[in-house]
């Protein structure tokens, strides 16, 4: 079964996909489906993005009909891609050569442009789940892209917040935050000419980091070559600092928030990357429990300024 079901209690679409239940869980390197010679990628490759064998959304989804005007359904149009960062199984973003991450950024740019060109795509969401704590099913370095046929609820909340801020102040909230943060520095983790990585004033997770371009750009393709290279550097530095924090592989959810480009108010949006790591200490997890899941209200047990200081102190080689 593959379909969208409408929830009138929250005005949102839920993706029902029995296919995803079949996904493999943490196979060994010998049986890794995305290593060279694996079931998905028998050929040599450098980077590759391919349509998921167990997708939540499909370019040709099955026909559906609503049960009634209360229980409404839509076809699950969309594309779910697996983005393989490298053919090497035993590295992760922090261990990858910077050049490889630069190529990865270029690949994300191309995927964004191509996926947005499909008529049924309203939003392109690039993400990575690292570690079993956040449900990663393969240890081979990879991320995913969901090309949605609708605007997911949290994206819509962001779009509306940008619009409200602009109506009230005539500016962009990220531009305003960046201008202030680079002045006061206390939450900044890493800064270059075009980007700043920081623990936001409004962090929801203990070691949450946001990567903001200093210039107002709405999406990855708008970044210049120089900015793309700097973004790659920030991704490497932040993930290195995460691994260095407790001397262990640090699980995280990495999410790219680009503008919903087909909306006419897309230019108000400011591209940004969010790292949401679930750890609150070396061996303690900050779970998404009832309050967070049920209300979207977060209780952060870590003062953001303290988290920023801890991450700043983790020394990594400037690349």
């Amino acid at each position: 079964m593959l379909e969208l079901r409408y929830n009138p209690l929250t005005d949102e679409w839920i993706i029902v996909s029995a296919e995803t239940q079949k996904r493999p869980v943490q196979p060994s390197q010998q049986s890794c489906p995305i290593c060279v010679g694996g079931v998905e990628l028998p050929e040599e490759y450098d980077l590759v993005s391919f349509e998921n064998r167990f997708p939540a959304l499909k370019r040709n989804p099955p026909q559906v009909s609503s049960e009634s005007d209360i229980f409404m359904k839509e076809r699950s149009f969309g594309i779910c891609e697996v983005v393989v960062y490298t053919s090497k199984h035993d590295v992760a973003l922090p261990g990858m050569p910077l050049r490889q991450i630069e190529k990865l950024v270029e690949m994300w740019v191309d995927r964004t442009v191509e996926l947005f060109s499909h008529e049924f795509v309203e939003y392109v969401f690039i993400f990575e789940n690292r570690g079993k704590e956040v449900g990663a099913s393969l240890s081979h370095p990879h991320g995913q892209i969901y090309a949605f046929p609708f605007l997911p609820k949290r994206i819509l909340a962001k779009v509306e917040a940008f619009s409200k801020w602009h109506a009230q102040r005539g500016s962009c909230p990220v531009c305003d935050v960046v201008a202030e943060e680079v002045k006061i520095k206390k939450r900044v983790v890493f800064e270059t000419g075009s980007f700043v990585s920081l623990v936001p004033f409004y962090a929801r997770f203990p070691f949450e980091v946001h990567v903001y371009p200093k210039r107002h750009v709405t999406s990855l393709p708008e970044l210049t070559s120089q900015e793309r290279a700097e973004l790659a550097k920030h991704l490497k530095i932040i993930t290195l600092k995460y691994d260095g924090l407790y001397g262990q592989e640090f699980p995280y959810m990495m999410m790219f928030f680009q503008a919903p480009m087909k909306r006419l108010d897309a230019e108000l949006f400011h591209l940004h990357v969010e790292f949401n790591p679930p750890k609150r200490d070396k061996d303690k997890i900050k779970w998404m429990a009832s309050v967070e899941t049920g209300t979207w209200a977060f209780i952060n047990p870590m003062v953001p300024e303290q988290a920023a200081e801890m991450l700043r102190k983790v020394e990594v080689n400037e690349l």
Partner: protein
């Protein structure tokens, strides 16, 4: 300027009450939306303005917006649009379709008022966004390159050719001489049609079709059809830039005559006889200075570019960026129909 026989300023003051329309203020856009419903009346006057001080597009089908000083009045959802002009005044007469809108916007300049107008139509009046396509003639159509991204345009007296191309899996558009031909070509598999007029009942019957109108006012075509063929060869560069704002809601199909296709492509016009290359949803238009527009876009090789349009000059100025990391992409379709995109370093 007068809207529905009232001075436009009145719409921003006390809410006007009238049995014939409802009114909504959009404070964030400094705009007012007047909503009218279909009536059995004849076309009536919706706008009157001073001919000398008022600006509108020079192309008749684009005369759905009128500006005077800091005020724009635009309309959508009307039929039988008639524009009467004398030496002193311009008057617009029209009749609401099912639901019609007159939007009044106040703003600092043409570009920002037009942007606000189309945003209000999209956001408040629920006019959906559209993606422009390429309509290519047989001599320029490349079956391997254009099969998935463009329509091959044929006339209705070329039925054998239509069938031959459809059999090859090519997306064909047919220019119809009459509505009677639609069902015949629909039955053989055509899904894109060029028409001289449009009837709403066909939208439901042919829900999976792509309709492009040849002669209509934007106000009548918005949200009803998928594109409108317009003649922009007499346009100034500034008019081209401003007209391009329509494209997100209703692609304007233009042929390349005076203007180079790259500029039209970047600005998101529908291609009539030329090939679209860039994804114009990434294009942004800003008013850089009094007489200069800056257009930023993402090129077909995924690098950002800029065009400067100085309205006092006749040619755009292009600025390119060179990518340092170029990837070569190879797309493979597996037996199960899934696409795999392989990337390696190197220029494609």
């Amino acid at each position: 300027m007068k809207v529905l026989d009232n001075e436009v300023s009145k719409f921003f003051e006390n809410p006007l009450q009238d049995a014939g329309f409802s009114l909504k203020k959009i404070d964030s856009k400094n705009a007012v939306v007047v909503k009218l419903r279909r009536s059995d009346e004849k076309p009536f006057e919706i706008l009157r303005c001073n001919r000398i001080s008022c600006w509108s597009f020079s192309e008749r089908s684009l005369k759905h917006v009128f500006m005077e000083n800091d005020t724009l009045v635009g309309f959508a959802g009307f039929e039988e649009v008639r524009i009467e002009e004398d030496a002193e005044q311009v008057a617009v007469f029209a009749k609401p379709l099912v639901e019609a809108f007159i939007v009044i916007v106040r703003g600092p300049d043409k570009l920002n008022m037009l942007k606000a107008f189309y945003e209000v139509l999209w956001n408040e009046c629920n006019f959906p966004t559209k993606i422009p396509k390429s309509l290519l003639m047989e001599d320029s159509f490349d079956e391997t390159l254009d099969r998935r991204s463009a329509f091959l345009l044929l006339s209705s007296n070329e039925e054998d050719e239509v069938k031959r191309y459809l059999k090859k899996g090519v997306r064909v558009a047919v220019k119809l001489e009459s509505w009677g031909e639609l069902q015949r070509f629909y039955n053989v598999g055509v899904r894109c049609f060029l028409l001289n007029d449009f009837k709403d009942e066909y939208r439901e019957r042919y829900a999976d079709c792509f309709f492009i109108l040849q002669k209509a006012n934007v106000a009548s075509a918005l949200a009803r059809v998928d594109g409108l063929i317009v003649n922009v060869k007499e346009f100034s560069l500034e008019e081209i830039v401003l007209a391009s704002l329509v494209n997100r809601l209703l692609p304007l199909y233009v042929s390349v005559e005076r203007f180079d296709s790259k500029l039209l492509d970047v600005l998101g016009f529908g291609a009539f006889g030329w090939r679209r290359c860039t994804n114009s949803i990434f294009t942004r238009i800003e008013r850089e200075r009094e007489r200069i527009y800056e257009i930023s876009y993402v090129s077909e090789s995924n690098v950002p570019g800029r065009v400067w349009i100085d309205v006092s000059k006749d040619s755009p100025e292009w600025f390119f960026e060179q990518s340092e990391t170029r990837l070569r992409k190879q797309t493979v379709e597996r037996e199960d129909g899934r696409y795999f995109h392989f990337y390696r370093e190197g220029v494609s």
